[in-house]
Amino acid sequence: MSVEQAWNDMGVHQDDDLAAMLKEGAIPQFTSKNPLVKLRKNLLRNVLTCIPTTTFFLVAVFIYPVWQAQVILILLFVFSVCYIYSSWQLYKQVDATSSSDRPLLAELKRHHQTIKHWLVMQQWLVLPLYPFACLCGFLMRLGSQENITTFFSYEGVVFIVVVIIIVTTILCFFATRLLSHLFFGRYLIRLRKMIQELEGGQ
């Protein structure tokens, strides 16, 4: 028996699990576990959850008559709008269906590039949000303009605040990176390895 024949014999074998799935009405009910499908869902969820928060930032600018808080709220509003816009653009771009028209190498590259794009977006656009949101929350808790002016009048406070913002921004950057790596790291390494294998020697 030839190797090809042995290989073909494998295909003759019928798998009960597979046969059970080939029933009318069953396939459209399946839930996709494709990473790009998950990514799309995640992007849509981010957009939907960011809209009320962004609206709050805008409304808060008019509610809190403290200029320091207003400046930070405007910054937060701008970051949030950028994040929503980028997420929505990426959501529209991502095609989560496998096409028979695309060769395997192109398909691997498409997955790799899309997820990398998302990771970079998460790292750079989200990281200023957390430290500024914390600072804004702190200022709001101080309450009046008078309290804030008194607080900032203490020697070295501005310096300490700036240092805290820088440190928390760096921490947020690495925390986002670590979480992204935990979620997609191994998958990206595998994709890159396969791309290199296919491209090697070309």
């Binding site: 019928q14 494709n34 496998s98 028979s100 395997l104």
Partner: protein, 159 residues
């Protein structure tokens, strides 16, 4: 959908493709079911774009490979210890015993993921030109890789 019975009929006739490709990539029974589901779902979604001029088997093959290799899967565990030495000469000269089908499958599973795709297409009768087109790599590169994969397969079997 009116098309569903036709689609299911075509898939049933070609389910061997799905079975074989999933068998050389899935790491456990749970992952095998997940891959079956994903392949069937992706094929179903792509079905409206299927053009009759292409063979259904080739179309399904491409969907299968593209889906399986881009799926997030568990790291591979080689969970068999037995020596595959016995069929090494048979693979080298192009013949194996019928009962060694499973052993051949296990040997293929030791290859890298892209090499498994190339050898499976080759064993399914696709010529180098078709393999090159399906993978998106040059014809020369396919020939070089295929030669190396065959040697590698023999070496794995000798281990």
């Amino acid at each position: 959908m009116l098309d569903e019975p036709i689609f299911l009929d075509q898939v049933r006739q070609n389910q061997g493709i799905i079975y074989k490709l999933v068998a050389i990539y899935a790491n456990d029974a749970e992952e095998k079911k997940d891959l079956y589901q994903e392949v069937l779902l992706q094929a179903w979604k792509a079905w409206p774009q299927y053009r009759q001029e292409a063979k259904f088997s080739t179309w399904l093959y491409r969907i299968c490979l593209n889906t399986i290799l881009t799926q997030k899967r568990k790291p591979q565990k080689i969970d068999f210890k037995e020596s595959l030495e016995a069929i090494a000469p048979a693979v080298a000269n192009g013949s194996v015993q019928k009962e060694d089908t499973v052993r051949l499958q296990l040997a293929i599973r030791q290859l890298s993921e892209t090499d498994r795709a190339i050898i499976s297409m080759h064993l399914d009768g696709y010529d180098n030109g078709e393999v090159s087109e399906m993978l998106g790599i040059s014809l020369n590169h396919v020939a070089v890789k295929l030669h190396r994969i065959k040697q590698q397969l023999v070496n794995y079997l000798k281990q």
